[in-house]
Amino acid sequence: MRRPDGDQVLLIVAMAVAVASASAVAFFSARIDAAMSRQAGEAIAADLRTRDSQPIAQSVEQQALDLGLDTARTVTFPSVVIAGERSALAGIKAVTDGYPLRGELRVADKPFGAERIQQHGPPAGEAWVDPRLFAELGIALRDEVQLGALRVRVTQVLAYEPDRGGGFTTLAPRLLLHADQLDATELLGPGSRASFSLLVAGEVAALDALQTNTTSQLAAGQQWTSAEQARPELEDALGRARRFLGLAALSAVLLAGVAMALSAVQYAARQRDAVALRKTLGATGAMILREELRRLLVLGVSGGLLGLMFGYIGQWVLVRILGDLVLMSLPAPPLWPALPALATGAVALVGFGLPPLARLRRVPPMRVLQQTLGPPPASVWGAGLVAALAVGVLLVWQAGEARLALIVFAGAALALGALAAAAAALTWAVERLRHRSGAAWRYGLANIARRRADAILQLVAVGTGMTVLLLLVVVRGDLLATWRDSLPDDAPNVFLINIQPDQRETVRAFFADRELGEPVLHPMARGRLLAVNGSAVDSEDYSDPDAQRRLEREFNVSWTDAIGADNETIDGQWWGEAGHGQSWISIEESMIESYGWALGDELRFDFAGQTVDLEVVHRRKVEWDSFSVNFFLLVPPALLDDVGATWLTSVHLPPAGKTELLDLIRREPNITVFDVDALMAQVRRVMDRVSLAVEAVFALTLLAGLIVLVAALQGTRQARRHEAALLRTLGASRQVLRQSLFTEFGVLGCLSGLLAAGFAQVIAWVLAQAVFDISYAASPLLWLAGPVGGIVVMTLAALAGIRGVAGQPPLATLR
């Protein structure tokens, strides 16, 4: 085959971008899939697990042992770990000797060092901690840390635990220790927020027998979960993430498809003479078609292989960005995802690139005598249908279901339509500006107006990628900053929970002595909902997953006769002091809605064995981001006095105060401290990583948009060259020519940036109003970054696309 010309090179590049974006996501997903299937059965580190906020009865474990099954127990809870002057909130997990029953632990000698397999957890006296805790505490291996009343030596870096769950990081880093040391920590008092698990593994028949025999003995909310049942939750989260990345990658594939179509149209236009001549000499339409198909195949395969190479690098970038959020070590990517990625590129190539080439077979041979003759006019509907079909196939494939594909298709069509309409309006407005003087300015703007369809296509193609990137880069930061600014300066930034009744005075005195304010302590008891209006509740009756989850666990209930300004009565009457001892309950609005309850309903709770019937008499709206302590459920005082409560409070502390808090934790180790600032920092870290990964995928969308720009420019190259020669003949210097090009593409870039900034601003407003409930003003950064970015990106791409146009000697071109 001859050396490919400009249009063919673009076709190869477009195919490469399509395959690169599809394969980067496919390779990455395949690695996660492989890690997950390797983990099958490991997800709960056992064959069966039961979990509760109370320890599982010893009799249940005994029956398992009697059936010849292996057992292990784990207890997990959040707590502060202290090392010297530094502290960090960790997810503590205490395990018995047998743990894990399925799968294995992996440890290392240094954070992110080479991993070794360990069949069992740490012996008593040792703690294994995950790499993040090393960083947060500034400790090294063999250092001691303090956990509650216990000092324990860190002996291994914990790289992997099979039942970490969630796939993506839980917020707090792990500290793993032996269950025998739990008591020594003195952290688990009544009402503490721990999760107790009993793990079982062994023969299927014995497992079945255990489930049958013990179901009636398990307390409400405790039930056996198998590894298979545990997986869907994990798979759902990862599946959604994968689908999202896949659809994001598809936007690059589709833009690349548009570039393929443009390149193919231009290539075909230049082939007409040669095809007419070959037909005159006896070539048939079928021969022409075969040859074009062969050419397309060669171009597609070249671009596809190139794309796979870049896709492989791309997945590596994604793993680098997201790798340590995915708490699994990922196996090397398998090679099979190359096939679906190539197929994705092929569908785009055939859908967008083939129709113009196929039409070449219908070029009339008479064209050798009459240059104006071409193939019969293309059926716009025909070509559009083929492309739409390709888009549909790709969407359904990527989305995995027709309904989601349809929603995405409609949403994208609507968004693109709006972008195109806005682009048309902008180009129209710009044309009004050309009557200012200056040859370069006038000529540059005139080019936009003359190639208006091209300009709109370029604006939409580049604007799409830019909108998404602006949203991710600018709006995300803005929204977060605005939300933070919307919080009062003295909003509580530290929560103290798990305060036992006899520690209340200590806590108050601690704050009073250091003049850190007067914390308000709220009581809290945990109760399980048994019945509503006399009928037993079943989580299956509710569709809302949060509603289901709460029913399976316990509700937190507090009591008071006064509600704060951040609580607003929606319905019913607040009881005040008159409520003392009454069997009433006040419920937060969203919770009452998720269960469909109404005032007057009767709820029956079980508080640590004590059954209480409560009438719903009050409905509240709570302003949660006041960061004060608030509860979904409130009852009057003097009703639950003897069910065993713990107390909690929230305070605003300056940084120095936070350091002093360490004294309190050392003295009263069971009190758990949540540092809101630190938690926010962790949330932000996860968000930053995830959005960086999404940005990486959408950067390919922007690249594809730029290829559309260059492809469209390629088609105007000949005409531009001629016009440049003419301008030079009339006395224009190279500088004037350059100025006119800068005008044309600077203005186009500025427009695409404005378009993107406008769309990002609208989306930001909607998000701010509907999701975050904050007021988001126009973002100056957005309106600066959009146009400036647009001008830079588009001018550079355009100069690359039409380099050499201005350098032609006029005489040669005018001939």
Binding site: A439, A446, R450, E723, L730, G731, R734, Q735, L814
Partner: protein, 226 residues
């Protein structure tokens, strides 16, 4: 009378593979200010190449050319472009209007490139002179061939150039339109006293010029008026 254009020993060669083709062979030429000159000759004789070199659109392989006293052979391409701006007008066989611009904007272009003030008024008046006042806002594709060439004439004369180069100005027009355009060309030229260099193989058109030269095998000869 002063000299507007002078060419000395101009040679233009192009290489085609191994072979070197001589397009212009030691051409000497002197054109006085205000003179009208026709260069005639068969297709491929090198007349358009000579026209392009005289206008500074390209540099000769050897030899020297002065335009209005400026040594084109010593100038860079940008310097030659600046030398042309406002001083040299062109009329081409294929009109060569910029398709993106309206008739008025096409005429404005050389005025703006030369930095001539009052460009709008001048462009409008030039278009008025060629009878196209009602078509100011039309684009080239909305105009007939004859109309397009009249816009090109307006564009050529609007900056009041010292020299006008015309390459087969009626070659793409039917007889009727060709005659109208030729009449306009010579009328406007007579009014402005512009030096005119006309390349054509239409001997009738050549005959309307004050002097005729014939190009053969890359050399210029005195030609008999038709």
């Amino acid at each position: 009378m002063s000299t507007m254009i002078r060419a000395e020993q101009v040679v233009q060669e192009v290489s085609s593979g191994q072979e070197i083709l001589t397009i212009l062979d030691q051409v000497d030429l002197k054109i006085s200010t205000g003179e009208t000159l026709a260069i005639v000759g068969a297709s491929g004789a090198g007349k358009s190449t000579l026209l392009g070199l005289l206008a500074g659109l390209d540099l000769p392989t050897r030899g020297r050319i002065w335009l209005d006293g400026q040594a084109l052979h010593d100038m860079s391409e940008d310097e030659r472009a600046r030398a042309r701006a406002g001083r040299v007008g062109f009329v081409f066989q294929s009109f060569q209007l910029l398709p993106a611009l309206t008739a008025l904007e096409n005429v404005l272009l050389p005025l703006e490139l030369a930095g001539i003030g009052d460009a709008q008024a001048r462009a409008r008046s030039a278009l008025d002179r060629v009878g196209l006042s009602p078509r100011l806002a039309h684009r080239p594709r909305q105009l007939s061939g004859g109309e397009q060439q009249r816009v090109a004439l307006a564009r050529a004369f609007a900056p009041q150039p010292a020299v006008l180069f015309a390459d087969e100005p009626t070659g793409n027009l039917d007889a009727d339109n060709g005659r109208k355009v030729a009449d306009l060309l010579f009328d406007m030229n007579a009014q402005s006293g512009t030096t005119l260099v006309l390349v054509t193989h239409d001997l009738g058109l050549a005959g309307r010029c004050g002097r005729q030269l014939s190009m053969q095998d890359g050399r210029l000869h005195e030609a008999m008026p038709a």
